[in-house]
Each structure stands twice: as C-alpha cells, then as structure tokens.
C-alpha cells in the first residue's frame, strides 16, 4: 500500500506543480500574484473541451489549442489590466485585486455560457484505464503529468539560468528600470511572460481536467488555493520551488491521508506549511533579498 | 576625556568573506571622529554592527562602558546611538514633520490609556513633540517645508532631513554614513557648518565619508579601514601623509585627472 501511496503522492504533487509553474512564472517576472490564474486554467480546459467536442481534435492539438487560447487570454489580461496599472505605478497589492476582478468575470462568464454543471472531455481522448506496473496503478494521464512537469521545470530552469532571455527576465523581475537601461524590451517580455504563463495554465487545465474527469466553472479556485501554498512554500517566483513545493504538498496530503486520517489532511498540509515558513521565512528556495544598509 | 564607544577586536564574516577582522577602536566623548577607507573596506558594516542590525562574528562593542551584545536596534537607539544611512532611508510618504516626530517616539511619555482617554498629557506631549520637531528642522534649515511630503525633497535635502530625524532620538553618539554624498561643493560647505554646530551642542559624531575636504575639514581624529583592518589613525595631517593610506585610498593629488592637451581633440 505504501508504494501505491507514494505513486499517488508523486502524481498529485506533479498536478500541483504543473499548475504552479505558470503561476510562479508570472509572479517571478511581473511581481503580481495573479489570482486570475485559476480562472485562466479553467478557461483553457473549457476551450479545449469545446474544441475537442466540435472538431474531434486529438490530444496533442487540444493541448496546443488550450495553450494558445489561454495564452491569448493571458495576453489580453496583461494588455487591458496589468499594463495600465504598471504605467500608473499602482501600489503593489492593486494588480492582485484587479486580477480578482478578472477571475470573477471569467468564472461567472463561463458559468453564464456553459452553466454550472460539470462537463468532461469525451472519452477516448486518452485512455481512462490504468497501467499496472508491478501491482502499482498509474494512468496514462498521470504519467503524462509527471513527465511534463519535470520536463517543463527543467526547460524553464535552464532557460532562465543559462540564456540571455532568462537573464533578461530575471533582470526585469528585480528592476524594470534597470532592465530598460540595459536595452531590454521590458513591455515585450511582460507580454511574453503573461502569454507563456497563461498558456501553461491552460495546458494544466486540460491535463488536470482529464485527470479528474470534471470541468466546472469554479474548478480553478481550489487549485488556486493550493497553488498559492505551493509557490510560497517553494519560494515565490522560483521555478524549482514550484516543483518541490508541489511535491511537498502532494506528499503531505497523501501521507496524512494514509497515516493520520483524511479529515486531518488539509490541517496537516497547511500546518506543515506554516511551520516551514517559520523555519524558512522565504520558502524553501527563497533568497533573502534584504537590501544592504 | 572619557571613551564614548569602544570596539574590541570586532570581527564580522559573511560566509567566507572576512569583512572585518579584529577591529579595535576607541572613540572619545565629544568631537567629530572620521572613518575613511576604500570602497568595500567594511565601514558601513561597522555601523551596522554598532546599531545592532547585524550581530558581530566576534569581539564586542561598548558604549559608555556598556556592552551592547544582545541588544535590539531600538534598544541601542534608546541607549543613545543614532545614525543616518548611506542610501537614504527616510519615510518617503510622510511629511518632514512626521519624519522627525517618529524620531521622538521614545521620548513621548503618554501610554496607551492616556491615548484613549484624550488626556491632557497626550495633548501636551504631542504639542511638545511638534515644537521640538520644528526646532530640529530649523537646525537643518528645512522648517519652511515641514508639511511637505519627504519624497518631494531633493537628494541633498533628504540627507538633511535624515540628520534631523536622527537627532530627534536624542542621541549621545551620532553615526553619519557619507552625509555629503551627492551634494555639490557649496551644499557641502553649508552642511559642514551645520554639522559643526551640532557637534558644538554636545553630540559626539562618528562619520564615514569619502570627501576628503569635508573629512579633513571637520574631523580632529581619523581612522582608516582597509580590507577590514584599521591601517592608520591620527590627525588629518598625519593621515594625509601616511604612505599606506595614500597607496590604498587617497591616491596622489597631482594624479587628478585632467584633459591633457593630446586628449583635447576637436
């Protein structure tokens, strides 16, 4: 049983990580806690569901479609909401409040259009059945999520660490003004980040929608709560942190169900989070950015 | 003359970086004491250790005979040490008057009950604080801007505000970290006069500065820090002529860069 639980924990952790990647990317570069990320995640899932239902797309093109659609939505949100706030030098919690408004619009808009009932992807998009590996059960979609979250993290990590684009993004993250002075197209990279992060959110929406077999207008909200915990646990804006934080939460939840009791699951997970913050005030990977006196 | 501040084999490391190593320094009561040294020598770190923002890795600090180990920054301030910062740290969103009144915090004698009961004490203490704040602002010639937002001050004015705010904590020892950075010569001269006036009111001043005219003009006694060690200590004249100091810090005056004839093309 323990082995199966560990597998469960790994896949749940990767579910959280997959959601958290885009979320943390936005925070890392734009410095905005984007509370509409859960809604964008949901819209990505709905967009792909509609595309699959109407055009019978195969999985890979459904994912691509979700990436582009959500990405476009992210771009639009950036252009219409975040960019004007940047230009006005809004105090730092203001963009977050604006994204709450965006989330309300998207959640209720989708509900107005598609109703509050659950939907699911047509069966056959991927197999529902699980592979049995030496007595351990794992579905194709779980395997996909695990692989994808590791691959995405590695790609993002290398891109941020080793490429000039990555350095530029980190420069923007610290000081847009300094970045301008270096000739970095700051606005352009803000758009790019918003696009990519939202796109990742959409992909996560599809995969997690497939994983849980349930799409509903508020499906992003619980994810968002967990996502916030994950990226803070990992250290805000840190890509490794998103994965480690996700895995941590996944393992904490699954193991507390297995050994403590499922009604204590969230208390254990959040209690641990609380304790970790007391020991590591900037999360697991947070660097102390205390400015010099 | 008694000792105001005593650093006793003070050290501070950051990871492997030994920023201060066995620094011994005694600063007498009264007068203006200077600390100079190359960039990165550890001068600001000395201030950070004195004010309790960083704990030392080794050694001890005594202020008027009292060991400062384990004291919190606000407790050290209440003991009578105030400072300004190399990168200005005023409260930008507050008015000048409020900035200085924050400095008076510990001296206001009303408690939270008086605050609620609208007692006479509350009002008289607040009035006293306001008057004192105006007085301090007038010391640095900023009283006419008392109700302006601090953020709207020019750089030089912000430095002066920081000075007034530090004085408000009623210090015996005033630490100034590069007080004239970013000022032009005539502003420097003006501030020089103000600092001298302050010193004459009985404050002991300990300052870091890179402007040699300013330091040499104000300080009777100067120490030079290089790579975390004191390499010289003495009068301005002695320091000016110390070969080690010239080598590490001052350079040669005649070395001042000019546009020589060949460079002046065009």
């Amino acid at each position: 049983m323990l082995e199966q639980q560990l597998v469960n924990a790994l896949s749940l952790g990767c579910v959280y990580a997959l959601f958290a990647l885009g979320f943390t990317l936005i925070f890392g570069v734009l410095g905005v806690i984007n509370l509409s990320h859960g809604a964008v995640f949901m819209v990505g899932a709905y967009a792909a569901e509609q595309a699959v239902a109407h055009f019978a797309l195969p999985l890979w093109s459904a994912l691509l479609f979700a990436f582009l659609f959500s990405g476009g939505l992210g771009l639009l949100i950036d252009f219409l909401v975040l960019r004007p706030l940047r230009a006005r030098n809004a105090p730092h919690l203001i963009p977050m409040i604006a994204t709450i408004g965006v989330a309300i619009i998207l959640n209720n808009g989708i509900q107005g259009i598609f109703g509050a009932q659950n939907l699911r992807f047509p069966s056959g998009l991927v197999s529902d059945d699980s592979l049995s590996l030496g007595g351990l059960h794992l579905t194709a979609i779980e395997l996909g999520i695990i692989l994808l979250s590791f691959v995405l993290m590695a790609v993002l990590l290398v891109a941020l660490k080793k490429t000039q684009l990555g350095r530029a993004l980190r420069a923007i993250a610290e000081s847009p003004k300094a970045a301008y002075l270096l000739g970095i197209n700051v606005e352009g990279l803000f758009y790019l980040t918003s696009f990519a992060a939202a796109g990742l959110g959409g992909v996560a929406g599809v995969l997690i929608g497939l994983y849980s077999n349930a799409l509903f207008p508020l499906m992003g909200q619980p994810m968002l709560h967990k996502g916030i915990a994950v990226i803070i646990l990992g250290g805000m804006g840190d890509i490794r942190g998103a994965l480690i934080g996700g895995l941590f939460l996944g393992f904490a939840e699954v193991l507390s169900v297995a050994y403590i009791g499922s009604s204590m699951r969230d208390a254990v997970a959040f209690g641990l989070l609380f304790l970790i913050l007391l020991v590591r005030p900037k999360g697991l990977f947070g660097t102390l950015q205390e400015r010099k006196v | 003359m008694s000792t105001a501040l005593k650093l006793d084999s003070l050290s501070r490391h950051f990871g492997g970086l030994k920023v201060l190593q066995d620094v011994n320094l005694e600063i007498p009561q009264g007068g203006i004491f200077g600390l100079i040294g190359p960039n990165g020598a550890g001068k600001t770190t000395v201030f950070n250790l004195i004010t309790g923002l960083l704990p030392p890795t080794g050694g001890r600090i005594e202020f008027n005979g009292q060991n400062l180990a384990g004291y919190q920054p606000h407790e050290i301030t209440r003991l009578g040490i105030a400072r300004t910062f190399q990168n200005i740290r005023i409260f930008k969103e507050m008015s000048l008057l409020e900035n200085v009144m924050v400095g008076l915090h510990a001296q206001l004698k009303y408690d939270s009950l008086g605050l609620l009961a609208s007692s006479g004490l509350f009002r008289s203490e607040e009035r006293r604080a306001r008057e004192r704040a105006h007085e301090l602002l007038s010391w640095v010639k900023l009283d006419h801007k008392a109700t302006d937002k601090a953020d709207n001050l020019s750089y030089g004015e912000q430095r002066k505000l920081e000075l007034a705010r530090a004085l408000a904590t009623n210090p015996k020892l005033l630490l100034l970290d590069e007080p004239v950075a970013g000022m032009n010569s005539s502003e420097k001269v003006e501030l020089m006069i103000e600092i001298r006036n302050i010193s004459e009111r009985g404050y002991t001043i300990f300052m870091i500065e890179h402007d040699m005219r300013f330091v040499m003009g104000l300080c009777g006694d100067i120490a030079v820090l290089n790579f975390g060690r004191i390499i010289a200590r003495g009068s301005p004249d002695a320091i000016r002529n110390d070969p080690q100091v010239i080598e590490a810090y001052l350079g040669r005056e005649d070395d001042e860069v000019t546009l020589d004839a060949t460079g002046a093309a065009a």
């Binding site: 809004a90 409040i97 604006a98 209720n108 | 740290r89 969103e93 009303y110």
Partner: protein
Amino acid sequence: MEWFDNFWSVYSNLVLTLGTNALLALSIYLTLSCGMLAIANAAFMGIGAYTSALLTMNYGLPFPLVLLAGMAAPAFMAFVIGKPTLRLSGVYLAMATLAFGEVVRIALLNTESLTGGALGLNGIPQSTQWWHVALALALTLALLWRLNRSKVGRAFESIKEDETAAGLMGIDVAAHKMLAFVLGAAIAGLAGTLNAHLTFFIGPSEYGFDRAVDILTMAILGGIGNLTGPVIGAVILTLLPELLRSFKDFRLVVNGFILVLIVLFLPKGIWDPARFTQWFGRKGSRA
C-alpha cells in the same frame, strides 16, 4: 416614517452587514497600515463568532459579556501565533496567516461535538441590535482615528515604510506589529460576534479563503491611506451585487468588470485624498 419602516424591514440586514463588513475592512486596515499583509482576519472573525455563539447558546451569558469574549478569544489567538509569525514579511506573512486560517477552518470542521462540523451552529439568538453595530463601528473608528494621530500611528506608518529605519528610531518594531495584529484580531472578532448574533446561523465555510480575500479587497479597493477608505470599500463591495440584480445570470460578471474598472482608474483606492486635491487643484487652475 412609514417609508423608513418599509426600508428597514427590507434592508436592515444589508445595512447591518455594511457595518460588520466595515469593521472587517478596518481590522485588516490596521495591519496593513503597519505594513503587514496578514490575512487571518476571516479566521479571527470565525473564532470570535464561534466563541460568542457557543457562550450564548450553551451558557446563556449576557450579550455584553459575550461581545467581550468574542473579541478576547481571537486577540489571544493572535497573540499566540503572532510571536513566531510576524517575523515573516510580504506574501510569506500572508501565506502563513492564510495557512493558519485553513487550520482554524479545519479545526472547526473536525470538532463536531462542539461546533457542529460542516453543519455549523444554528438557532443562535438574534441579540444584535442595529445600535450595537453602529456603536461598535463608531467606537472602532474613534479609537483608530486617535491611534493614527498618536505616536503609535506614526510608528505603524514608519514600520510600513522602512522597518529597519523605524527600529533605529527607537521604535520596538516587534511590539508594534503585535499590537496591530492583536487589535486587528479583536476588531475582526467583534465583527464576527455581531454577525453571528444577527444571522441565526454560522458555519465554517464562511471563514475561509474567500472571505479572507473579500476583506482584503474591501480595504484595498477603498484605499488604505486613511480610515475612510476601508469603510467606503466595504460599502461598495457589499452594495454592488445588490445594485446589479437586474443583470441576472451575468450580474457577477458585471460586478467583476466594475471592480476591474475601479482598480484601473483609481489605482490608489477609491478614497485617495491626494487625488482629490489634484482634481480640485486642476479645477482651480482652470478657473
């Protein structure tokens, strides 16, 4: 006065909710004014609500006593968790307080014999009168107004701007943060108590993440430069959904749009005296 009776019979709950929401917005304003993004206020509200409701229902204590207990319990809780938590800064503090809130919510769910679990407590006597809410709000405003004008208020503001510099002004930063946190918790508990004795029923889901974010939104949207902002924010956020009833299925969409527009065009919050002077200044110069 017939119109008033009519108005009151329809809208009394709405008006009193405005009052309790204003208290909640003020409770978070207090910590924000000290530079702390602490969002345990929903949890503190819940602790106040449950403590007071249980005292009323199980022991029949008189309402004034219950109110006191409803403030004291969350204040005590804040004091206990404040010590380790308030060292955190920014979003990390937000997260720790949010995590605390989750733990409180789950504790309420799991202590079924006392709290009724997910089913909540029902049949709470309706002891809250309109003037209780009015008085609570007036006293809170008066207290905070006085606080703002004192050395404590200045200390809060300086801590918000620069903690290190504030410490070097002789301000005990940790103690002041604790004061703001505990006082904020007490005010949230007061709101929770008043609310619990108004609506017959309380349940754990009312004190979760959504409520925490709601409270924060009210304060920020209104503006946290002074006391007026949070109150206005609470009023607007409470009334908006009511005013938009005619939009039916899409009313929350419209609600969201309005929220975004307010933020876009009034990024410092609705109540921003600096902008008012700017407007009047501009008018003056035109004239």
